[in-house]
Symmetry: C2
Subunit: 170 residues, 2 copies
């Protein structure tokens, strides 16, 4: 095999989303076992002006579905940011995975130099495909999935790095 834009995008995001779902399942079970109102975890944050858990998940799924869509030249579907429960967050993750699974490698491969327009804080930023994926979409995705993990770990949920990484991709 030769590394392709598909290899470096769709399966990477699907893998990360599956682990995010597993982490949220553990968080929901933790809340139940410890008689914690689940909304306390869903709204938890690491600092008053940081985004809470739910928003971290929303943004992670935004980047995860945005990358394959944009690389394939398709508009990223809009999801309303309304999730307020673990079940709703799980549904958003599942919907994102199902969307990414619709892409075939030939839609994404060859997009290294494709022009990608991404709204970033009110400005339309023009990227090339490969730097967009490696220097924007991936770091953003991992930033928000790790922050979700960190929020839950800070709240005492029994998770470890292997929950984040998943089974080793040998």
């Amino acid at each position: 095999m030769t590394l392709s834009m598909y290899d470096a995008s769709a399966p990477v995001f699907i893998r990360g989303l599956n682990q995010l779902a597993a982490i949220l399942h553990k968080a929901a079970a933790h809340a139940q076992a410890h008689k914690i109102d689940p909304s306390v975890l869903v709204n938890a944050r690491l600092y008053p002006d940081m985004f809470p858990l739910a928003r971290q998940i929303q943004i992670a799924t935004d980047h995860a579905r945005g990358a394959p869509a944009r690389l394939a030249g398709i508009t990223r579907p809009s999801y309303p940011d309304t999730e307020a429960t673990f079940d709703e967050l799980q549904a958003r993750i599942a919907k994102t995975i199902a969307f990414i699974e619709t892409f075939k490698p030939e839609q994404i491969d060859g997009s290294e130099e494709r022009t990608i327009i991404v709204p970033v804080r009110g400005n339309n930023i023009e990227f090339k495909g490969a730097p967009y994926l490696l220097g924007f979409a991936q770091p953003n995705f991992y930033f928000h999935t790790t922050t979700a993990y960190a929020i839950l770990r800070h709240c005492g949920v029994e998770i470890g790095k292997m929950d984040f990484l998943g089974s080793l991709p040998v």
Copy 2:
């Protein structure tokens, strides 16, 4: 261009390490401005049994130099985990960047299916190059750099996601 194993490794880690260095500079300045003993930040953690900031940086640099080295078929150089100050952590990051910069694309390109042996929690795990990079080295790197960011953000250091992402790679 066609995406290569070099593109997806060396410059990605260098970029992330430069941003990590920038974040640590802001943290050191924050400590000075607020008369906080810098060692409080260096030893800060998000939960009692999580690693502190210094260890997050050490592990991030382990993955950052391990990936290009292993993909190139070179043994990862060993760095003693002794850093206890911001200056020492900065020196470790700079040493890691300088090491990664020694690699030429032709040493890493074509390593998609190269067999990589990585010690993981006492077991030698055998990966192929591409899954090692995309499913192990990169997520580990981002996991520890984001956790470093999250620790500092939780301690009130004035940093934002753009400090983590850096200038947009258009």
